[in-house]
Symmetry: C2
Subunit: 93 residues, 2 copies
């Protein structure tokens, strides 16, 4: 009854992806946040770095396949590998 051909058998996984600027890459947005926090009275803020957080739900039951697919998504679209790094966690959704 259930379609078992191919990777997707209906099980859904969720990838939680962080994309961050590499060390040394200027982050004016982070600096702006740090300044704003100082202006609001927060003392002791030493540094702020802003990145992206992306959740992708994908129907793929094989964790290894899902992992390699998410890695390719990051390299091809989600992260600019020249200036950004990425990391992610996978879990059943």
């Amino acid at each position: 009854m259930s379609g078992g051909v191919g990777g997707g058998t209906g099980q859904v996984m969720r990838a939680r992806i962080k994309v961050t600027l590499k060390d040394g890459v200027l982050d004016p947005q982070g600096k702006a946040i740090a300044n704003a926090l100082g202006g609001l009275g927060f003392k002791g803020v030493e540094d702020v770095r802003q990145g992206k957080y992306i959740e992708v739900k994908l129907s793929e039951s094989d964790p290894d396949k899902a992992r390699s697919e998410v890695e390719q998504m990051c390299r091809q679209l989600l992260a600019n590998m020249v200036i950004e790094d990425f990391s992610f966690e996978l879990e059943p959704a």
Copy 2:
């Protein structure tokens, strides 16, 4: 020799903050990413939600104080509580 007055004794903590759209809030940016992933040939992408990831380094040696400070930063500046949720982890930097 070391200054122990006040909260900051030179120890630095890092907060890793995720700001995400609440369920039900439209996310056109996430939809655009999902479409682009489909166009690149990734099958099985069911949903994409884009949020922000922010790292804050702060000099505060007391974890409880640091926690409540980061929570206030999120409520006052980093997240728009009407449409966004936040979560964070604290660790020694």
